[in-house]
Amino acid sequence: MSPVIGVVAPRILAPAVMLAAGLIVKGYSDTGEGFSAGVIVALAIGLRYITLGRRRADRTLAVARHANVVAAAGLLIALGFGFQGVLSGAPPFTHLPPPGSPVIGIGTLELTTAVGFDVGLFLLVAGSLTVLIRYLTELLPDPADDPGDER
């Protein structure tokens, strides 16, 4: 493993999550949305799994072990925001608050149903890709077992 990767791989996740959060928060008024954000986080997680091996990565990143739960929760959140209108008789994907009314904002983040849907999308994409990463890296030999790799 090159020293650059050895340094970068364990540290890239936090910036990646920050970037993803930025993409979602700003996404509705600027470039980017939940899908890209999810893939970016999954990429950082993937880098960690490939460099550390499945076992060690699992130990350092407990939440990845429950990626399937995250993905399912994301799907449910997306479904919930998508179909909330149906409960009150409106068509699915009715935008709330309705067009023209003011939106509550926390800084740049605007609380609309579409943003909620985007958050669900993000969790689903990040979660499902992490599930795949964990399965695939299990097929790889564990770098920790490789004597030539450790110094």
């Binding site: 509705y28 008024s29 949305e33 893939v39 699915p92 994907f93 935008h95």
Partner: protein, 739 residues
């Protein structure tokens, strides 16, 4: 879990009785208002009869099952926890039956109809380690759920004609037209397949692979009853055209004959009963074919009496097999001494089915004979023959198991396997002595079927009334058939053999085989090698895009204009992309083509960014990174051989085809990219509208607003597909790990 299921059934039964005593009731809620579908349920006279049957017999069968299932699992050395795959489906089935009984909306009827089919699939295939059980479950699903599509077609036809799915409204508006007749006939086809009527009867005998409680419930009182339930429910639509009713008569008598004759030839206990069910529901279909008040009441009483007796007989078959380990009549006999209670109780049930006096069944035949004789002398005569046949095969069944020489010794069996049979026998006797409550139930159901109050007064008339003479004739005929062994057996065997050789079951088998070959051929053509797999995606995509070009007026749209200075970055990026594409296609190395692909993707992402599509560029960069990472990781695990050293690869035998596919895909892709890069004017397209509406949706980024809002439903479906795909890949990888 078994006791929970039984408790649910018992509570439902009592609740239904209480609701009925309180005067019934109905619910009508909008379900899918834009499609005119309502959640319309009504506990009327017709519903209560079938709902009480489903829950009452359900309760007894569940009690029986709580004794049967542990032993069944024990015989097959399966863990007791497998019962978890059994009871929920039984309860789902019961709930669907109760809903079906009360449904007044055609689409609702269809949905519940299909839920019963799905539940029956899992129940019939409960012994999933046996290929026969799986095949039987698949056949039952294919025949009953496949023909249920006819019901949906009929419902849509009626909707297009009268603008409603609601049955009460349809009854008011419907008048005889060819479309109405076609729709009614289509719905009847689905119902007849469910009730295992000729020629779609063949799934029922095979469904005997199911554990006995399933047969005792589904194949006596529930699944097969769902078919005639629908016939009774939509009867006013069927009665609009006499030809439909005549067809029902014909199919009913054909089923009575086929089922009855083959039942005489069967050796397996449950096979006798399965063919008997085909035959007995033939009676009900005949009665609905006769129609009118008499036919409707007789049909309702027939369903009740048959369900009670038949489920008792199925449970008897299970109990006998459990006690002796034998399921064939030729190996059984003389069990009356060892299983006296079962013998008496099942004797009463068989007597009720054969319509002997002092049982509830006597009245079902009384009403049947009256309705048949009223229709025409020919139908009356056929009715007598049918009843004689029934008498004969039931006699053969009961005498064969309980009388004569003892062939296999019996061991003790759990009282849970006996008590339900006794209860059903007692109900049959009570019905034979006090028929009034049952007659009232049947009259209530008949009144709903014909849409007018009817009265029915079955009772014992000690005179030479027509029904009594017909009954006596039927018994005599039955005894003659029973005694004439030397004539009966060859005839019955010949019919059964002819059915095997020429019957619809063979058509089903050949059809299934043909579909499998077709699917196999298509599969082989697609995944023969990597190139065909790619072509299967690229060529159809290219053809669709090309069709789009031909359909769009493109006159003068593709002009080669001058290149402005602002376009230079695009040109440079595209040139890089072209070089990378050539490298990826021609380089024989392993890692170089992958990196070249990555460069190609990055250069295209750059083009998007320069063109003013930063969202697309972002996604492209992210995805390119994932793909490269996966490639590099996988290649790092491949064995270390160098592709380039293996010498030139043998020329592919499909070279011309490969080149053609490449050209088709390449040319259309070229056209599409040209279109995008020439920045067509927005005009009044959907895109222009979306851009205009974006501020209203509290957004500024059109692409994100389209994804998460305007086309949110599309995104929803896409991410659901993504989740399902991940699930599929995950289960594939998980299997990989297991030895």
């Amino acid at each position: 879990m078994a006791s929970a299921a039984s408790a649910i059934a018992a509570v439902l039964f009592v609740a239904l009785l209480a609701a009925w005593a309180a005067g019934g009731g109905s619910v009508s809620l909008p379900w899918a208002p834009t499609l005119g579908i309502r959640l319309e349920l009504s506990l009327d006279g017709f519903a209560i009869l079938y709902a009480l049957l489903a829950t009452g017999i359900g309760f007894l069968v569940f009690v029986y099952g709580s004794g049967y299932l542990p032993a069944h699992l024990g015989h097959q050395r399966r863990p007791a926890s497998d019962a978890r795959r059994f009871w929920p489906w039984m309860v789902v089935f019961m709930a669907a039956m109760v809903g079906l009984a009360m449904a007044l909306d055609l689409v609702l009827l269809f949905v519940l109809f299909d839920i019963t089919a799905v539940a029956s699939y899992f129940l019939i295939g409960f012994d999933r380690q046996r290929a026969e059980a799986r095949g039987a479950a698949f056949m039952a699903l294919l025949v009953t759920a496949g023909s249920a599509v006819a019901m949906l077609l009929g419902a849509v036809l009626l909707y297009s004609e009268y603008g409603t799915f609601s049955l009460p409204v349809l009854f008011e508006r419907a008048h005889p037209t060819p479309v109405t007749t076609a729709a009614a006939a289509l719905i009847a086809v689905a119902a007849l397949a469910k009730s295992a009527q000729v020629p779609l009867h063949f799934w029922l005998p095979r469904a005997m692979e199911a554990p006995t409680p399933v047969s005792a419930y589904l194949h006596s009182a529930a699944m097969v009853a769902a078919g005639v339930l629908v016939l009774g429910r939509i009867h006013p639509l069927l009665a609009l055209d006499p030809a439909v009713l005549d067809a029902l008569l014909l199919i009913g008598f054909a089923s009575i004959a086929v089922g009855g004759l083959i039942a005489l030839a069967q050796d397996e206990l449950k096979q006798v009963l399965a063919h008997s069910t085909i035959s007995q529901y033939g009676y009900v279909v005949v009665l609905y074919g006769i129609g009118g008040a008499h036919g409707a009441v007789a049909a309702a009483l027939y369903v009740v009496a048959h369900a009670i007796a038949k489920s008792a007989l199925f449970m008897t078959a299970g109990a006998v097999t459990e006690a002796t380990g034998e399921s064939r009549l030729s190996r059984l006999g003389g069990l009356a001494r060892e299983l006296p209670v079962v013998a008496v109780a099942s004797g009463i049930a068989a007597a009720s089915l054969a319509a002997l006096p002092l049982t509830l069944g006597f009245f079902k035949d009384e009403l049947f004979f009256e309705a048949a004789a009223e229709e025409s002398p020919l139908v009356g005569a056929l009715a007598v023959v049918a009843a004689g046949l029934t008498f004969a095969y039931l006699g053969r069944f009961w005498l064969g198991a309980f009388m004569g020489r003892r062939r296999t010794p019996a061991s003790r069996i759990s009282p849970l396997l006996v008590a339900p049979i006794v209860v059903l026998a007692v109900v049959s006797i009570i019905g034979g002595l006090f028929v009034e409550p049952f007659a009232r139930l049947a009259a209530g159901a008949g009144a709903v079927t014909v849409g007018a109050p009817v009265d029915a007064s079955p009772g014992y008339h000690l005179d030479l009334g027509l029904a009594n003479v017909m009954a006596a004739a039927a018994w005599t005929l039955g005894i003659v058939i029973l005694l004439a062994t030397s004539v009966r057996e060859p005839v019955a065997r010949a019919v059964a053999a002819a059915g095997d050789r020429l019957g619809p079951r063979r058509v089903y088998g050949l059809g299934l085989l043909a579909f499998e070959r077709l699917s196999e051929a298509a599969h082989r053509a697609e995944v023969r090698d990597l190139r065909t797999s790619l072509a299967a995606v690229l060529v159809p995509g290219a053809v669709l895009a090309a069709l789009g070009f031909f359909a769009t007026p493109t006159e003068g749209a593709y002009a080669v204009g001058p290149i402005s200075a602002a376009d230079l970055p695009i040109v440079a990026l595209l040139a890089l992309g072209v070089v990378a594409a050539f490298t990826a296609a021609r380089d024989r190395g392993r890692l170089r083509p992958v990196l070249a692909l990555s460069v190609l993707g990055a250069s295209l992402a750059g083009v998007y960014a320069v063109m003013g599509a930063p969202d697309v560029a972002l996604v492209a960069v992210v995805i390119e990174t994932v793909v490269t990472l996966v490639f590099v990781t996988v290649f790092s695990q491949l064995p270390a051989t160098v592709m380039g050293r293996a010498g030139p690869a043998a020329p592919s035998p499909h070279r011309i085809r490969n080149v053609a596919a490449g050209i088709v895909a390449g040319v259309t892709a070229f056209g599409v990219i040209w279109t995008a890069l020439s920045r067509p004017p927005l005009g009044s397209s959907d895109a222009a509208q979306d851009i205009q509406l974006t501020p209203l949706a509290h957004g500024a980024d059109v692409v994100t607003v389209i994804l998460a809002d305007f086309r949110g439903l599309d995104t929803m479906v896409e991410i659901t597909v993504l989740a399902v795909a991940v699930l599929g890949v995950a289960s594939l990888l998980r299997r990989e790990r297991e030895p």
